[in-house]
């Protein structure tokens, strides 16, 4: 029986954790299997949950978020027969962990391009949640994409706050969006968990376009969400559960080539995406896959060529 450990944001964060849950659910629906799950509540529970599930015989144990790296490195060796899956972790050295990293900057690059093409004002916005490197990583890819389309484009980037409340403050998300609109932004990309709900809402209310994150959020405001930057955590989780105990371990980087990231196109936003847009973005996608185009990752040296934080 597989087990799934959600990060502190909780299972229904409308993005990252929820994607994992959806993947797990799809697996359960398709196979009729069942899985264990826990929504972490405190830091100390990270290790606790790992051990408890491993001891109870869960296999594989799937964890969400980079913060699990540290406890995993301590625990994994104690349970050599258990396979662990670490989403968003790529730097551990252990034989029984499947480490999955996503090239969020590449996906963000594509939606950044779309934002720049859809923007009439020449200004696009980015609203992050708590100010942490991961969110800067998103923002950095986005800015590069936008600049690639329009080197003169203005990118307004804001973080919601410095406490965990920043992930759940849609009111602040709204205000930030309004502030960005007043600075000319007419497309806003939200990478802010529950705060993003406020961003998308306000963008829809104010008649500008927004971009969702992680899951496909196009349906939240049909015709008003330009696209969503997909991070196929659901696929990763689904695959892991499907592989079960025979899971292949090692480091897996899920980029555009692996369809680990991408942009969402469905009936809700079809009318917003022109053919040229699609063509340009698909070309860039191919170039990245082919290695002709390199999107700089914020992690490379903790800075971004296209945006200052």
């Amino acid at each position: 029986e597989p087990a799934l450990i959600f990060d502190l944001g909780g299972k229904f964060d409308k993005s990252f954790n929820e994607a994992a849950f959806n993947g797990a659910k799809r697996w359960a629906d398709e196979t009729g299997g069942s899985f264990r799950e826990i929504e972490l509540q405190s830091e100390a529970q990270r290790e606790q949950a790992l051990r408890r599930f491993a001891e109870a015989g869960a296999n594989p144990v799937i964890t969400m978020g980079f913060a699990m790296a540290d406890p995993l490195s301590a625990v994994a060796a104690d349970y050599p027969d258990t396979k662990f899956v670490a989403v968003d972790v790529t730097w551990l050295d252990a034989p029984n962990i499947r480490q999955i990293g996503f090239a969020e900057h590449e996906g963000s690059y594509l939606v950044g391009m779309m934002a720049a093409m859809a923007s009439k004002s020449g200004t696009v916005g980015f609203v992050g949640g708590m100010d942490i490197p991961l969110i800067r990583h998103f923002g950095c890819g986005y800015a590069q994409g936008a600049k690639a389309v329009n080197p003169d484009i203005k990118i307004v980037a804001n973080m919601t706050g410095t406490t965990p409340a920043a992930w759940n403050d849609p009111v602040k998300g709204s205000e930030l969006t309004k502030a960005q609109i007043s600075q000319g932004a007419d497309v806003v990309y939200a990478a802010a968990g529950g705060t993003g709900v406020g961003v998308l809402q306000t963008a829809a209310d104010e008649g500008i376009l927004s971009i969702g994150v992680d899951s496909n959020q196009n349906h939240l405001h049909p015709g008003k969400v330009l696209t969503s930057m997909l991070k196929r955590v659901d696929v990763a989780v689904y695959d892991a559960m499907k592989a079960g105990e025979n899971l292949e371990t090692g480091v897996f980087n899920m980029g555009l080539a692996e369809e680990g990231v991408g942009y969402a196109l469905d009936e809700n936003n079809a009318s917003l995406i022109s053919d040229e847009m699609k063509a340009a973005v698909d070309k860039a996608r191919q170039d990245i896959i082919d290695g002709n185009l390199k999107v700089v990752s914020y992690y490379e040296n903790d800075s971004c060529p296209a945006l200052k934080f």
């Binding site: 264990r36 830091e43 100390a44 051990r51 790296a69 540290d70 708590m130 942490i132 490197p133």
Partner: protein
């Protein structure tokens, strides 16, 4: 002359209140379609049924003892320190700096140094609100709330921009060296023949917390400073009459309070995470308020209340692990416990007093 025997006051009333809280919690569990008996079983066996459970219960309790004592000491001087959260964050910063940048030969020396740093940083964070209260009359409740937010921003800055190892995604400091690893209860108890769970994070900080309870008790009830703190807390004009400086007491009480809150960091930062992460305090500063109020600001009461909340935390974690009950249920149970044992305790006390009075009259 008291209206009730002391044992009724100290044991019976909290017990009945707890039972009431439990009954209401059971109703809530029923309301969301789960089985309360199974849930309680799982909580009790999960939190108290094994050394593993105890290890977690005591780990959380250690945090709450520190923050509860912090709030309690300030309360004795009639100061409402809501800033335990921020002070504990700063304490964590102090511990991290000490553990990261000094090569300690042995954990015991490192612990001493970390205690010092945690207390110093926590005290500094309490000192500014204390000074503003004592000298400028700025209300300590506002300033400590503000300082919580400021501490969060400061910590975020330190972790994201300064202390994070280059290239790491995690807004956290590097891991502390092996030498500053604090012995867990497992490592402490196995040599004397008790097979305590290896997994649980409870560590030697627990002993420091218990020691802190004793020290605070002695401080408040046995020393001259404690005498002055209590006198000032009861009556400011009285303090003036007795030559007790309000300024001094406000400062000293808040410094002690901040130091105690900061001290929590040896448990969660040094003992458990062994690195500094964002949000490592996880609201323990606020739980400390409830713990102090429930413990009637007495160190022994704080000790018991801390264990009760530790039990709720760990029991709740077990529930979350093995059932689909949302984790918020535990928050509700905590609320009910605080409500019944703290705010509604007269609901139990008033009728009981009548009963005891009638009994006494019957005898006389």
């Amino acid at each position: 002359m008291d209206k009730m025997p002391q044992w009724a006051d100290v044991v019976l009333i909290p017990l009945i209140s707890l039972i009431l809280a439990a009954i209401l919690s059971a109703l809530v569990i029923l309301g969301i379609g789960e089985d309360p008996v199974a849930a309680v079983n799982m909580m009790v066996s999960g939190a108290l049924g094994s050394t593993y459970g105890w290890g977690y219960t005591l780990y959380y309790a250690t945090n709450f003892m520190f923050t509860g004592l912090a709030v309690a000491v300030a309360f004795h001087a009639r100061l409402f320190n809501i800033g335990g959260e921020g002070q504990a964050m700063l304490g964590g910063l102090g511990v991290a700096l000490v553990c990261l940048y000094v090569p300690w030969p042995h954990w015991s020396i490192a612990l001493l140094a970390a205690c010092g740093a945690a207390m110093l940083f926590g005290a500094i964070w309490a000192a500014i609100p204390a000074y503003l209260q004592a000298r400028r009359g700025s209300h300590i409740v506002i300033t400590t709330i503000m300082f919580n937010f400021i501490a969060a921003a400061l910590l975020n800055y330190m972790l994201v921009n300064v202390m994070r190892p280059v290239g790491s995604m995690d807004p956290a400091s590097a891991r502390f060296a092996e030498t500053v690893h604090l012995p867990t209860l497992h490592e402490l108890l196995v040599p004397i023949g008790i097979n305590f769970s290896k997994a649980a994070p409870a560590n030697v900080s627990l002993l420091v917390a218990v020691l802190a309870c004793v020290v605070v008790w002695a401080l408040i009830w046995r020393t001259r400073l404690g005498y002055e703190i209590r006198a000032y807390g009861h009556s400011e004009t009285g303090a003036l009459y007795a030559g007790i400086s309000p300024y001094k007491i406000t400062m000293v009480a808040m410094l002690i309070s901040g130091a105690l809150a900061g001290l929590m960091a040896i448990n969660n930062v040094m003992g458990e995470a062994e690195r500094l992460v964002l949000n490592s305090t996880e609201g323990a500063g606020f739980i400390g308020i409830a713990v102090a109020l429930m413990g009637r600001s007495h160190p022994f009461g704080v000790f018991l209340a801390a264990i009760l909340f530790g039990f709720l935390y760990q029991g709740g974690a077990e529930l979350a692990l093995w059932t689909n009950i949302p984790r918020e249920l535990i928050v509700v149970i905590q609320a009910l416990v605080i409500l019944f044992t703290g705010a509604l305790d007269n609901m139990v006390r008033m009728p009981l007093e009548k009963i005891f009075l009638a009994l006494r009259k019957g005898k006389a």
